[in-house]
Amino acid sequence: MIRSKRGETDPYRKQLKSDCESLLGRFQKTESVRFQVFSEIWRESNFTHIFYGAVKHEKRAFSRRVLDLAYSYFLPPLTFQIRVGGLYLLYSLYRSQTASPPEQIRVALKDWDEVKKFEKDAADAQHLDAVYILRQLRFLKAFHFTAMPTLLAYKKKRKTEKSDLSEEFVERASRPQELINGDLLEELSNIHELYEKMKTSVSLPSEKSVNMIHRSFVPQLRGSVLDFHKWQQNKDETDQDEDCGEGTSSQQECSNRAGLIASIKSKAYGEAAEASKSRRHRQVEVDPTSNESGPSNAPGRSRKTKPSFKARTKEKYLFSGDQLKASSSTTMISHLTSLDPVAAEKVKYFKRFPSK
């Protein structure tokens, strides 16, 4: 276990965090999930040297610290791409450490299902290098299967640290968009309609209670989610030129119930109604027709699509930066206002990997 000197509970924490995050930040910029890309950045930053110079009795404690830190990049709520980077970082650190015998990677029981889900997402998207590296770690018996990610000795933090997660690595909240989707709105407006009829049938037409019904409930809900999305986009300083005209006027446009129903019925909301059943079961199936040489569908909530490892091996490792920057996929919410068959196709991919 880690012993530390009085008052110095975690030496190097700030520096380690900064080093790891600058490495992952560079990896993020490449928009790639390839290990080859990662290892190039690793070599360029001489990251193996991070272990060099640690004196004998520090080695184990240092390995422990850096592995614990790297583990935190491998878990939600970080984006799929950063999690891949976190996995590569864990693997590379584990293999480069100078402590002997090596310190193990601690994986907590509560996180294991996320690890398995990650593996499945990566496998479904044919990111074979990511799957291979995760399997290698198991093969090397690099894991300690633990109760908690770190040892707990009832030490309360003397200083409350700010949230440890680097903001740009965190998956943007998309729960509102995921929850308030086309299906839900459709169902909601149907129920709303039924409810309205029931209310009307049990009361006199002149009675005021009918007004208790929030007439524009569904459009308003939709509008709020759109607003949230817009706000999020602006916060991210993401250019929203194309959608702007339509988007900003969304609320007034949508308050028109007829228009809303029409848009709900349209394909812009994603899949056809008959597909919705299977989706409710949240099954992830492998699409046998998926084109191996084309950009593969990104797993999880990743917004980028990248060529699969397999695709690349077929192309005999002809790498170029452009190739990795495959067309960026879009979030589902943007289709609430735009009709685009290609985009709708991507929505399908997106939905095939529901989060949680």
Binding site: H57, P101, A108
Partner: protein
């Protein structure tokens, strides 16, 4: 025997934080183990290495990749791809490389330069900090029967020394033991060393030779652990008393949540409901109280000490400064005296040799009118 005391047993044995980064909610150790085993393949926790060819073949088959692709994959992900120097140059991993750019290395260099400039010598405790554990890494028993079963759990338990309020440091003095899930709490008790178990009671100035046989562990055998609403009493010997009864009855009469009792010797760690990271209690010698914190629970690993016989395994022992003899200042104090005309202070501490030389003549005859009490130094266990 499952402990179901004051706190409600959660129906999941997947540990979750109760307070983030501090302690977990209660869970059942045996249940936790089952949860892990149900999620893993035996290969994951086996002590035997898996064949690389088998691994490759399985991977290729599962993901439908050709031998060629598999070879590429292996080469791309190889350890060579992480090498940060030309193949024929191996820099010295014992020194910080020149002109580092990583923040960690810049900081490490700074610390080392500072230490060098101040000529700070390395602390003996730092040097030996992990020695105890390192000695037993991957150690295998001679007899096959003595090997720790694969998939067994190992618990890391800290036992803290009774609080001494005058010396409160960030690092509270404690010992760390590795226990296995099949250890009973009685075995745990026997592994805890506390000076009060060895304290010799009484005045022995007339018979200094018989004193060391008369230690208190033999006299006061009662003890208990307290975990999650249950008192676990040591009832192995006829003279043991259920010393938790007083507390239980007091709690009952004051409308506290009811506590229950169980026997230490009948309870294995596997049977416990506990919170990891949470302070519990060990009480012995009537009033010597120690905090007990289970800091970690995990499955065994091939690099662990695999010899069952070496558990409970002591991995850390706090080193306390020893009280030296006030005459020679070399040896650890073994006696303290009062009413002592030979002593520079009252009371005064002596090593065995100085004590006897000063207080008895060559025939062992007591000189003077002093009182002598055997003394066991806390640091004597170092």
């Amino acid at each position: 025997m499952a402990a179901s005391g004051g706190s409600t047993t959660s129906n999941t044995n997947i540990p979750e934080y109760e307070y983030s980064d501090v302690n977990t909610k209660p869970f059942h150790i045996g249940g936790f183990r089952s949860e892990w085993l149900s999620r893993l393949t035996p290969d994951d926790y086996s002590y035997q290495p898996e064949e690389e060819d088998t691994f490759d073949a399985n991977f290729a088959k599962e993901h439908g990749v050709s031998a060629e692709t598999m070879a590429e994959l292996k080469s791309v992900c190889s350890i060579d791809s992480l090498r940060c120097h030309p193949e024929d140059e191996q820099p010295d991993p014992e020194v910080v490389p020149p002109n580092p750019t990583l923040q960690t290395l810049i900081e490490r260099k700074k610390k080392q330069d500072y230490k060098a400039s101040r000529k700070i010598t390395k602390n003996r405790h730092d040097l030996y900090a992990n020695e105890l554990e390192r000695l037993t890494y991957g150690m295998k028993p001679e007899a096959v029967d003595d090997i720790l079963p694969e998939g067994e759990v190992i618990l890391t338990v800290n036992v803290y020394y009774p609080a001494s309020y005058d010396k409160f440091n960030y690092v509270r003095p404690h010992m760390t033991l590795l226990m296995t899930g099949s250890h009973s709490l009685a075995e745990f008790r026997d592994a805890i060393c506390c000076v009060s178990d060895l304290q010799v009671c009484g005045e022995f100035s007339n018979t200094p030779n018989i004193a060391p046989d008369f230690i208190s562990k033999d006299h006061y055998k009662s003890a208990f652990f307290y975990f999650e609403g249950v008192f676990y009493n040591d009832m192995r010997y006829p003279e043991c008393q259920d010393i938790s009864m007083t507390t239980i009855e007091w709690a009952k009469s004051h409308n506290f949540p009811s506590y229950s009792q169980a026997k230490m010797e009948d309870t294995r760690f596997m049977d416990l409901n506990v919170k990891v990271g949470f302070p519990y209690l060990y009480c012995h010698q009537g009033d010597c109280e120690h905090l007990v914190i289970i800091t970690d629970v995990r499955l065994t690993h091939k690099n662990d000490c695999l010899d069952k016989e070496l558990y409970p395994l002591l991995t850390h022992k706090h080193r306390v400064a020893t009280q030296k003899c006030s005459v020679c200042h070399i040896f650890i104090g073994r006696w303290f005296t009062t009413n002592d005309e030979f002593a520079p202070s009252h009371p005064c501490l002596f090593c065995d040799k100085c004590f006897r030389t000063l207080h008895y003549n060559e025939d062992g005859y007591k000189l003077g009118d002093f009182l002598a009490y055997p003394y066991v130094d806390r640091g004597a266990f170092n």
